[in-house]
């Protein structure tokens, strides 16, 4: 046993608390939300920490208003986020579409619990993966990230804000009950170790400003309300000036730019982590808390002589096909364990261009997937 000493800089934090510290480190200064298990700790801690850095915390009347306030704050030039769970995330979908079409940077944390509806408030699940991508209607660009540990909850939250600011796109951060409530002793990176990105603001004279004219990346510079740049924000499909349009060319150009700005950023946005993938013959693809069970299962399979590997997805959408497809070509089988009926396994199957066998392992009984059950299936592949 070690001598009594305080290890400097180490803290015992829950995943939800680490999200809070990540948001603050990324420069988030506005939170509007409505409490819900298992996401409440995020609001609870921000209600104390945001005012201390001259930020704003508002408990709203519901989730619809929460995301409305977040969009308003972001348009006023402040980095903003909200946090909720499945039922609240459902309510946010309409305004989320507005944020996508008006290209308002914001981060929405969804700490997943068992669903649908009120579901299982205190149990983990991963049932909101496809909703995070397609919950709001119409073709829209969006980024979905998943965290698996306390340290992830810090660093991926920072990344979520950075991507959101860089591409002017809402970013959905998916956590789950296990990650959110697990406490781990961590040393959070200091201020100078965190890379923070801010939205590009217009530098031209106000008369020249075209608020929805993309730069060479397809991302328009963003003026904050009050900066002196007049601009119009609408949910209707709009031209470069921000006014509604029915012009076919402008409508198509708008959609192309929206999809293109994310497509051009694929290499930057798509994040994965590989464990033993180099010589893998059988692969596990997992994300969120389940990636932790999967890592242990892969280690055990290796111990038993199987060349197993794990690909942990951090970015779920846009689906990281640049990493997944080559690995599918390399492996004879891939196992996708999820705490849902198979929401990412269908994405894996979609990018499967060879005869790699895609096997699902699904658990929807409110319990966390164990390493043993993954190993059991893995060893049969």
């Amino acid at each position: 046993m070690s001598e009594p000493e305080q290890t400097p800089g180490r803290q015992l934090l829950q995943g939800n608390e680490a999200v809070v510290h990540g948001a603050l480190a990324a420069g988030c200064r506005f939170f509007a939300g409505y409490p819900i298990t298992p996401a409440s700790e995020i609001a609870e801690h921000l209600s104390v920490l945001l005012p201390a850095v001259d930020g704003t915390f508002i408990q709203m009347e519901d989730e619809i208003a929460s995301i409305g306030a977040v969009i308003g704050a972001s348009l006023a030039g402040v980095k903003a986020m909200t946090a909720t769970s499945g039922p609240g995330f459902s309510l946010m979908q309409e305004n989320l579409g507005f944020a996508c079409v008006a290209e308002v940077p914001c981060v929405i944390v969804n700490v997943m619990r068992g669903g649908p509806s009120t579901g299982l408030p205190t149990s983990p699940a991963q049932g909101d993966v496809q909703m995070a991508r397609w919950g709001t209607h119409g073709d829209h660009p969006i980024v979905v990230l998943a965290v698996s540990s306390v340290l992830d909850s810090f660093s991926i939250t920072v990344k979520a804000f950075n991507i959101s600011e860089k591409y002017r796109v809402p970013v959905i951060l998916l956590s789950d009950e296990v990650v959110a409530h697990t406490r781990e002793a961590v040393r959070l990176p200091g201020r100078d170790e965190v890379k923070v990105m801010d939205r590009i603001r217009p530098s031209m004279p106000p008369d020249w400003y075209r608020p929805y004219e993309g730069d060479n990346r397809g991302v328009p510079p963003m003026a904050a309300f009050g900066d002196g740049y007049r601009h119009h924000v609408t949910g209707l499909i709009h031209d470069e000036h921000g006014y509604p349009t029915q012009n076919r060319k402008e409508i198509e150009g708008f959609h192309e730019r929206m999809a293109g700005k994310i497509r051009r950023g694929f290499a930057d946005i798509q994040m994965t982590r590989g464990f033993h993938t180099r010589d893998a013959e059988v692969l596990v693809i997992a994300y969120g808390s389940v990636a932790r069970s999967a890592l242990r299962a892969v280690e055990e399979a290796r111990r038993q002589g199987m060349r197993a590997g794990l690909l942990q997805l951090i970015t779920l959408f846009p689906f990281p096909r640049a990493t997944v497809t080559p690995l599918l070509k390399q492996c004879r089988a891939v196992l996708v364990p999820e705490m849902n009926m198979g929401q990412i396994s269908r994405e894996v199957q979609r990018v499967n261009q060879c005869d790699c066998r895609v096997v699902k392992h699904n658990r929807v009984d409110g319990e966390f997937i164990t390493p043993m059950e993954i190993t059991r299936v893995l060893l049969k592949l």
């Binding site: 180490r10 781990e184 932790r292 111990r303």
Partner: protein, 201 residues
């Protein structure tokens, strides 16, 4: 299964009913091990929708290596603060694991490899508040597990508890350590299983 590099974990489950302070005890333990001792630790819990009275369990996994799966797989130590928890979780113990029960509330022991200490009784009669039974238990577990520096455990405890209750909590912790110190682990049967069961599984 033989434990190999990166696999050594020590797993503790604190179990009982909601309101007994089991999650708090687990958090203090995790803080002492993770923040003060500087080892890897994962602390998790599961509970029902009710705040009090329902089943409650909290777990701590300790290792000298990064921890992948954050929950307990096979318990090294089980604290059962009521009969229902003792019955429900006993089978999650390793054969050579340690069962610690609150003998004020648990009357029937599923094994003779058991350490029975009246945590609630000590808290009520000696410290004066039933409330700190969890801290008496924490002290005992701190010693019996051998996983935490006891000075650090006390420091972590005092940093967590509300102002004005430090002395009561410290007394409770120390009483638990003292009570556990009277136990000779070598005198216990080697396995939690009945010897016949072990021979003919």
């Amino acid at each position: 299964m033989k434990q190999q590099d990166g696999w050594e974990r020590y797993e503790i489950r604190f179990s009982g009913s909601g309101g007994q302070g089991l999650i708090t005890a687990a958090v203090v333990f995790a803080e002492a091990v993770g923040v003060y001792d500087g080892r890897y630790v994962c602390q998790t819990q599961s509970y029902g929708p009710e705040a009090r009275g329902g089943k409650s369990k909290a777990e701590v996994v300790v290792s000298d290596h990064p921890i992948d799966y954050p929950k307990a797989l096979e318990l090294d130590l089980l604290l059962a603060m009521n009969q229902a928890a003792c019955d429900a979780y006993f089978y999650d113990l390793k054969k050579n694991g340690i069962l610690v029960v609150d003998s004020t509330l648990v009357e029937q022991f599923p094994t003779s490899r058991v350490i029975a200490i009246p945590f609630t009784g000590i808290a009520r009669d000696e410290i004066g508040r039933v409330l700190v039974a969890n801290m008496v238990a924490l002290g005992a577990i701190g010693l019996l597990s051998g996983q935490v520096n006891l000075d650090n455990l006390e420091k972590a405890l005092l940093a967590r508890v509300p102002k004005g209750t430090e002395e009561m909590n410290r007394d409770a912790l120390r009483r638990g350590i003292e009570e556990a110190g009277k136990i000779d682990l070598d005198q216990l049967p080697r396995s939690v299983m009945n010897e016949d069961e072990e021979e003919y599984p």
